[in-house]
Subunit: 183 residues, 2 copies
Protein backbone atom coordinates (compact mmCIF):
# COMPACT_ATOMS: atom_id res chain seq x y z
CA UNK A 1 0.00 0.00 0.00
CA UNK A 2 1.57 3.26 -1.20
CA UNK A 3 0.54 6.87 -1.51
CA UNK A 4 1.29 7.95 -5.07
CA UNK A 5 1.26 11.31 -6.75
CA UNK A 6 0.56 10.39 -10.39
CA UNK A 7 0.29 13.35 -12.74
CA UNK A 8 1.37 14.88 -16.02
CA UNK A 9 3.61 17.92 -16.04
CA UNK A 10 5.20 20.27 -18.50
CA UNK A 11 8.98 19.95 -18.88
CA UNK A 12 9.30 23.08 -16.73
CA UNK A 13 7.22 21.71 -13.86
CA UNK A 14 3.67 22.99 -14.25
CA UNK A 15 0.55 20.82 -14.05
CA UNK A 16 -1.79 23.51 -15.43
CA UNK A 17 -1.03 26.67 -17.34
CA UNK A 18 -1.50 30.23 -16.11
CA UNK A 19 -5.18 30.12 -17.25
CA UNK A 20 -5.72 26.83 -15.37
CA UNK A 21 -6.05 25.09 -18.72
CA UNK A 22 -4.88 21.61 -19.75
CA UNK A 23 -5.17 22.24 -23.49
CA UNK A 24 -1.40 21.80 -23.79
CA UNK A 25 -1.86 18.26 -22.40
CA UNK A 26 -5.10 17.38 -24.20
CA UNK A 27 -3.48 17.96 -27.61
CA UNK A 28 -1.68 14.62 -27.16
CA UNK A 29 -4.94 12.67 -26.82
CA UNK A 30 -5.42 9.76 -24.48
CA UNK A 31 -3.41 9.31 -21.27
CA UNK A 32 -0.28 7.20 -21.39
CA UNK A 33 -0.38 3.41 -21.44
CA UNK A 34 0.70 3.33 -17.80
CA UNK A 35 -2.70 4.56 -16.59
CA UNK A 36 -4.76 1.31 -16.77
CA UNK A 37 -2.31 -0.79 -14.69
CA UNK A 38 -1.84 2.16 -12.31
CA UNK A 39 -5.54 2.82 -11.64
CA UNK A 40 -6.23 -0.91 -11.23
CA UNK A 41 -4.15 -0.82 -8.03
CA UNK A 42 -5.73 2.34 -6.59
CA UNK A 43 -8.15 1.96 -3.67
CA UNK A 44 -8.77 5.58 -2.68
CA UNK A 45 -8.37 8.96 -4.34
CA UNK A 46 -7.51 12.44 -3.02
CA UNK A 47 -7.72 15.74 -4.86
CA UNK A 48 -7.88 19.44 -4.17
CA UNK A 49 -10.74 21.73 -5.10
CA UNK A 50 -9.07 23.11 -8.24
CA UNK A 51 -8.64 19.60 -9.65
CA UNK A 52 -12.22 18.71 -8.69
CA UNK A 53 -13.70 21.82 -10.26
CA UNK A 54 -11.62 21.26 -13.40
CA UNK A 55 -13.14 17.75 -13.66
CA UNK A 56 -16.67 19.14 -13.20
CA UNK A 57 -16.25 21.80 -15.85
CA UNK A 58 -14.18 19.98 -18.48
CA UNK A 59 -15.29 16.37 -18.08
CA UNK A 60 -18.52 15.78 -16.24
CA UNK A 61 -20.52 18.87 -17.22
CA UNK A 62 -18.71 19.70 -20.46
CA UNK A 63 -22.03 18.92 -22.18
CA UNK A 64 -24.47 20.28 -19.59
CA UNK A 65 -27.45 18.46 -21.17
CA UNK A 66 -25.71 15.11 -20.99
CA UNK A 67 -23.44 15.03 -17.97
CA UNK A 68 -20.95 12.20 -17.78
CA UNK A 69 -20.65 10.01 -14.70
CA UNK A 70 -17.91 10.54 -12.10
CA UNK A 71 -14.89 8.80 -13.66
CA UNK A 72 -13.69 6.89 -10.57
CA UNK A 73 -15.21 3.88 -8.88
CA UNK A 74 -12.84 4.31 -5.91
CA UNK A 75 -13.95 6.36 -2.90
CA UNK A 76 -12.65 9.90 -3.39
CA UNK A 77 -11.78 12.67 -0.94
CA UNK A 78 -11.96 16.28 -2.10
CA UNK A 79 -10.05 18.76 0.04
CA UNK A 80 -11.64 22.18 0.14
CA UNK A 81 -12.53 24.87 2.64
CA UNK A 82 -15.41 25.84 0.34
CA UNK A 83 -18.76 24.10 -0.25
CA UNK A 84 -18.55 22.46 -3.66
CA UNK A 85 -21.18 21.10 -6.02
CA UNK A 86 -21.79 17.37 -5.56
CA UNK A 87 -21.76 14.83 -8.36
CA UNK A 88 -24.74 12.41 -8.24
CA UNK A 89 -24.04 8.74 -7.57
CA UNK A 90 -20.38 9.31 -6.77
CA UNK A 91 -18.57 8.13 -3.64
CA UNK A 92 -17.09 11.54 -2.78
CA UNK A 93 -16.15 12.77 0.68
CA UNK A 94 -15.59 16.48 1.12
CA UNK A 95 -12.99 17.30 3.75
CA UNK A 96 -10.61 19.99 4.95
CA UNK A 97 -7.74 20.64 7.32
CA UNK A 98 -4.91 18.33 8.37
CA UNK A 99 -4.33 15.48 5.92
CA UNK A 100 -3.37 12.94 8.63
CA UNK A 101 -6.85 11.94 9.87
CA UNK A 102 -8.16 11.92 6.29
CA UNK A 103 -5.24 9.74 5.25
CA UNK A 104 -6.15 7.27 8.00
CA UNK A 105 -9.73 7.13 6.69
CA UNK A 106 -8.45 6.62 3.16
CA UNK A 107 -6.12 3.79 4.18
CA UNK A 108 -9.08 1.92 5.69
CA UNK A 109 -11.24 2.53 2.63
CA UNK A 110 -8.46 1.47 0.24
CA UNK A 111 -8.34 -2.04 1.77
CA UNK A 112 -4.68 -2.59 1.03
CA UNK A 113 -4.65 -0.86 -2.35
CA UNK A 114 -2.84 2.40 -3.10
CA UNK A 115 -3.87 5.99 -2.49
CA UNK A 116 -3.73 8.27 -5.52
CA UNK A 117 -3.18 11.98 -5.05
CA UNK A 118 -4.55 13.34 -8.31
CA UNK A 119 -3.48 16.93 -7.61
CA UNK A 120 -2.73 19.67 -7.15
CA UNK A 121 0.86 20.09 -6.13
CA UNK A 122 0.04 21.79 -2.85
CA UNK A 123 -2.09 18.83 -1.70
CA UNK A 124 0.70 16.40 -2.63
CA UNK A 125 3.03 18.69 -0.68
CA UNK A 126 0.83 18.47 2.41
CA UNK A 127 1.03 14.66 2.29
CA UNK A 128 4.81 14.97 1.84
CA UNK A 129 5.06 17.33 4.82
CA UNK A 130 3.55 14.63 7.04
CA UNK A 131 5.79 11.84 5.71
CA UNK A 132 2.83 10.26 3.91
CA UNK A 133 3.97 10.52 0.28
CA UNK A 134 5.69 7.39 -1.03
CA UNK A 135 6.01 7.77 -4.81
CA UNK A 136 5.97 10.30 -7.61
CA UNK A 137 4.89 8.96 -10.99
CA UNK A 138 5.31 11.86 -13.37
CA UNK A 139 4.57 12.00 -17.07
CA UNK A 140 6.72 14.67 -18.66
CA UNK A 141 5.07 16.19 -21.71
CA UNK A 142 6.97 17.92 -24.54
CA UNK A 143 5.94 21.47 -23.71
CA UNK A 144 7.08 24.34 -21.53
CA UNK A 145 4.48 26.63 -19.97
CA UNK A 146 6.60 29.35 -18.39
CA UNK A 147 4.19 29.62 -15.45
CA UNK A 148 1.07 28.10 -13.92
CA UNK A 149 0.23 25.62 -11.16
CA UNK A 150 3.44 24.12 -9.74
CA UNK A 151 4.06 20.35 -9.85
CA UNK A 152 5.17 20.12 -6.23
CA UNK A 153 5.94 23.33 -4.33
CA UNK A 154 8.38 21.78 -1.89
CA UNK A 155 12.15 21.41 -1.65
CA UNK A 156 13.01 17.69 -1.64
CA UNK A 157 16.75 17.55 -2.18
CA UNK A 158 18.51 16.21 0.93
CA UNK A 159 18.06 13.31 0.75
CA UNK A 160 17.05 13.40 -2.91
CA UNK A 161 14.31 11.34 -4.48
CA UNK A 162 15.23 7.83 -5.60
CA UNK A 163 14.83 7.24 -9.33
CA UNK A 164 13.21 3.83 -9.83
CA UNK A 165 12.03 3.82 -13.47
CA UNK A 166 12.15 5.73 -16.74
CA UNK A 167 9.92 4.85 -19.68
CA UNK A 168 8.97 6.52 -22.94
CA UNK A 169 5.30 6.09 -23.90
CA UNK A 170 4.34 6.76 -27.50
CA UNK A 171 5.98 9.67 -29.32
CA UNK A 172 5.48 12.36 -26.70
CA UNK A 173 5.55 11.10 -23.13
CA UNK A 174 8.41 10.33 -20.75
CA UNK A 175 7.32 8.76 -17.47
CA UNK A 176 9.69 8.97 -14.50
CA UNK A 177 9.06 7.21 -11.21
CA UNK A 178 10.66 8.23 -7.94
CA UNK A 179 10.43 6.99 -4.37
CA UNK A 180 10.40 9.53 -1.57
CA UNK A 181 13.15 8.76 0.94
CA UNK A 182 11.87 8.17 4.47
CA UNK A 183 13.88 10.18 6.98
CA UNK B 1 25.25 23.29 -36.74
CA UNK B 2 22.65 23.62 -34.00
CA UNK B 3 21.99 25.93 -31.08
CA UNK B 4 21.54 23.75 -28.00
CA UNK B 5 20.40 24.54 -24.49
CA UNK B 6 22.13 21.84 -22.46
CA UNK B 7 21.50 22.01 -18.72
CA UNK B 8 20.50 20.15 -15.59
CA UNK B 9 17.19 20.87 -13.92
CA UNK B 10 15.23 19.82 -10.89
CA UNK B 11 12.16 17.68 -11.60
CA UNK B 12 10.05 20.79 -11.02
CA UNK B 13 11.91 22.92 -13.54
CA UNK B 14 14.53 24.98 -11.70
CA UNK B 15 18.18 25.28 -12.72
CA UNK B 16 19.27 26.92 -9.46
CA UNK B 17 17.56 27.06 -6.10
CA UNK B 18 16.14 30.16 -4.41
CA UNK B 19 19.62 30.95 -2.96
CA UNK B 20 21.21 30.63 -6.44
CA UNK B 21 22.92 27.46 -5.23
CA UNK B 22 23.67 24.25 -7.13
CA UNK B 23 24.38 22.17 -4.01
CA UNK B 24 21.34 20.00 -4.86
CA UNK B 25 23.06 19.15 -8.18
CA UNK B 26 26.64 18.87 -6.89
CA UNK B 27 25.64 16.13 -4.42
CA UNK B 28 25.47 13.72 -7.39
CA UNK B 29 29.10 14.29 -8.33
CA UNK B 30 30.38 14.47 -11.87
CA UNK B 31 28.21 15.52 -14.81
CA UNK B 32 26.45 12.83 -16.80
CA UNK B 33 28.23 10.65 -19.34
CA UNK B 34 26.63 12.62 -22.15
CA UNK B 35 28.80 15.70 -21.49
CA UNK B 36 32.08 14.64 -23.19
CA UNK B 37 30.47 13.78 -26.57
CA UNK B 38 28.29 16.88 -26.29
CA UNK B 39 31.09 19.37 -25.58
CA UNK B 40 33.28 17.84 -28.30
CA UNK B 41 30.80 19.16 -30.88
CA UNK B 42 30.48 22.66 -29.41
CA UNK B 43 32.19 25.53 -31.25
CA UNK B 44 30.92 28.56 -29.32
CA UNK B 45 29.38 29.17 -25.91
CA UNK B 46 26.81 31.68 -24.62
CA UNK B 47 25.86 32.39 -21.02
CA UNK B 48 24.21 35.05 -18.92
CA UNK B 49 25.85 37.02 -16.14
CA UNK B 50 24.40 34.89 -13.32
CA UNK B 51 25.87 31.72 -14.84
CA UNK B 52 29.21 33.48 -15.42
CA UNK B 53 29.41 34.83 -11.88
CA UNK B 54 28.47 31.41 -10.49
CA UNK B 55 31.42 29.92 -12.42
CA UNK B 56 33.78 32.61 -11.09
CA UNK B 57 32.72 32.12 -7.49
CA UNK B 58 32.27 28.35 -7.30
CA UNK B 59 34.77 27.07 -9.86
CA UNK B 60 37.50 29.43 -10.92
CA UNK B 61 38.03 31.43 -7.71
CA UNK B 62 36.72 28.86 -5.23
CA UNK B 63 40.30 28.73 -3.93
CA UNK B 64 41.33 32.40 -4.31
CA UNK B 65 45.04 31.62 -3.84
CA UNK B 66 45.01 29.03 -6.62
CA UNK B 67 42.47 30.04 -9.24
CA UNK B 68 41.53 27.44 -11.81
CA UNK B 69 41.64 28.20 -15.53
CA UNK B 70 38.50 29.03 -17.52
CA UNK B 71 36.96 25.62 -18.24
CA UNK B 72 36.15 26.09 -21.94
CA UNK B 73 38.50 26.24 -24.90
CA UNK B 74 35.66 27.45 -27.14
CA UNK B 75 35.12 31.20 -27.61
CA UNK B 76 32.50 32.29 -25.09
CA UNK B 77 30.02 35.16 -25.07
CA UNK B 78 28.79 36.50 -21.75
CA UNK B 79 25.58 38.53 -21.91
CA UNK B 80 25.42 41.27 -19.33
CA UNK B 81 24.50 44.91 -19.05
CA UNK B 82 27.04 45.21 -16.22
CA UNK B 83 30.85 45.31 -16.36
CA UNK B 84 32.07 41.93 -15.13
CA UNK B 85 35.44 40.71 -13.90
CA UNK B 86 37.54 39.16 -16.65
CA UNK B 87 39.22 35.77 -16.45
CA UNK B 88 42.87 35.81 -17.60
CA UNK B 89 43.77 33.87 -20.73
CA UNK B 90 40.16 33.09 -21.62
CA UNK B 91 38.50 33.77 -24.98
CA UNK B 92 35.53 35.64 -23.52
CA UNK B 93 33.46 38.30 -25.29
CA UNK B 94 31.23 40.47 -23.15
CA UNK B 95 28.08 41.58 -24.93
CA UNK B 96 24.57 42.86 -24.38
CA UNK B 97 21.31 43.57 -26.16
CA UNK B 98 19.67 41.71 -29.06
CA UNK B 99 20.91 38.14 -29.40
CA UNK B 100 20.70 38.11 -33.23
CA UNK B 101 23.94 39.96 -34.10
CA UNK B 102 25.78 38.08 -31.35
CA UNK B 103 24.40 34.80 -32.70
CA UNK B 104 25.78 35.70 -36.14
CA UNK B 105 29.22 36.33 -34.62
CA UNK B 106 29.02 33.04 -32.74
CA UNK B 107 28.06 31.08 -35.87
CA UNK B 108 31.18 32.38 -37.62
CA UNK B 109 33.39 31.58 -34.64
CA UNK B 110 31.92 28.08 -34.25
CA UNK B 111 33.09 27.08 -37.74
CA UNK B 112 30.28 24.60 -38.33
CA UNK B 113 30.15 23.27 -34.79
CA UNK B 114 27.26 23.79 -32.38
CA UNK B 115 26.41 26.73 -30.13
CA UNK B 116 25.85 25.88 -26.47
CA UNK B 117 23.63 28.08 -24.36
CA UNK B 118 24.86 27.24 -20.86
CA UNK B 119 22.15 29.28 -19.13
CA UNK B 120 20.19 30.80 -17.72
CA UNK B 121 16.67 30.14 -18.82
CA UNK B 122 15.99 33.75 -19.79
CA UNK B 123 18.93 33.81 -22.21
CA UNK B 124 17.79 30.51 -23.78
CA UNK B 125 14.33 32.12 -24.01
CA UNK B 126 15.76 35.11 -25.90
CA UNK B 127 17.32 32.77 -28.47
CA UNK B 128 13.98 30.94 -28.69
CA UNK B 129 12.11 34.23 -29.21
CA UNK B 130 14.20 34.90 -32.32
CA UNK B 131 13.76 31.38 -33.73
CA UNK B 132 17.41 30.56 -33.00
CA UNK B 133 17.01 27.71 -30.49
CA UNK B 134 17.17 24.24 -32.06
CA UNK B 135 17.45 21.72 -29.22
CA UNK B 136 16.91 21.26 -25.52
CA UNK B 137 19.13 18.65 -23.86
CA UNK B 138 17.92 18.49 -20.29
CA UNK B 139 19.24 16.34 -17.46
CA UNK B 140 16.46 15.82 -14.94
CA UNK B 141 17.81 15.33 -11.44
CA UNK B 142 15.94 13.51 -8.62
CA UNK B 143 15.07 16.59 -6.58
CA UNK B 144 12.37 19.21 -6.37
CA UNK B 145 13.30 22.76 -5.36
CA UNK B 146 9.92 24.45 -5.03
CA UNK B 147 11.31 27.70 -6.42
CA UNK B 148 14.42 29.28 -7.92
CA UNK B 149 15.73 30.15 -11.38
CA UNK B 150 13.34 28.82 -14.04
CA UNK B 151 14.50 26.31 -16.66
CA UNK B 152 12.92 28.18 -19.57
CA UNK B 153 10.45 30.97 -18.84
CA UNK B 154 8.53 30.66 -22.11
CA UNK B 155 5.36 28.92 -23.26
CA UNK B 156 6.28 26.43 -26.00
CA UNK B 157 3.19 24.30 -26.45
CA UNK B 158 1.65 24.86 -29.88
CA UNK B 159 3.37 23.30 -31.66
CA UNK B 160 4.93 21.29 -28.85
CA UNK B 161 8.56 20.27 -28.63
CA UNK B 162 9.55 17.08 -30.44
CA UNK B 163 10.90 14.36 -28.16
CA UNK B 164 13.94 12.81 -29.83
CA UNK B 165 15.69 10.81 -27.07
CA UNK B 166 15.36 9.59 -23.48
CA UNK B 167 18.27 8.07 -21.60
CA UNK B 168 19.00 7.20 -17.99
CA UNK B 169 22.57 7.95 -16.89
CA UNK B 170 23.81 6.30 -13.71
CA UNK B 171 21.43 5.98 -10.78
CA UNK B 172 20.15 9.54 -10.66
CA UNK B 173 19.94 11.24 -14.03
CA UNK B 174 17.34 11.14 -16.80
CA UNK B 175 18.34 12.98 -19.96
CA UNK B 176 15.61 14.09 -22.35
CA UNK B 177 16.30 15.63 -25.74
CA UNK B 178 13.81 17.75 -27.64
CA UNK B 179 13.88 19.60 -30.94
CA UNK B 180 12.21 22.99 -31.13
CA UNK B 181 9.66 23.03 -33.98
CA UNK B 182 10.36 25.70 -36.57
CA UNK B 183 7.20 27.64 -37.36
Amino acid sequence: MKTQYYTATSLDGYIADADNSLDWLMQFGEPGESYPPFIAEVGAIAMGSTTYEWLLEHEIYKDKENPKPWPYRQPSWVFSSRTLKKVPNADIHFCKGDVVPIYNEMVKAAEGKNIWIVGGGELAGQFYDKGLLDELIITITPVTLGGGAPLLPRKIAAPPLKLVAVQQYGKHYVEVRYEVAKV
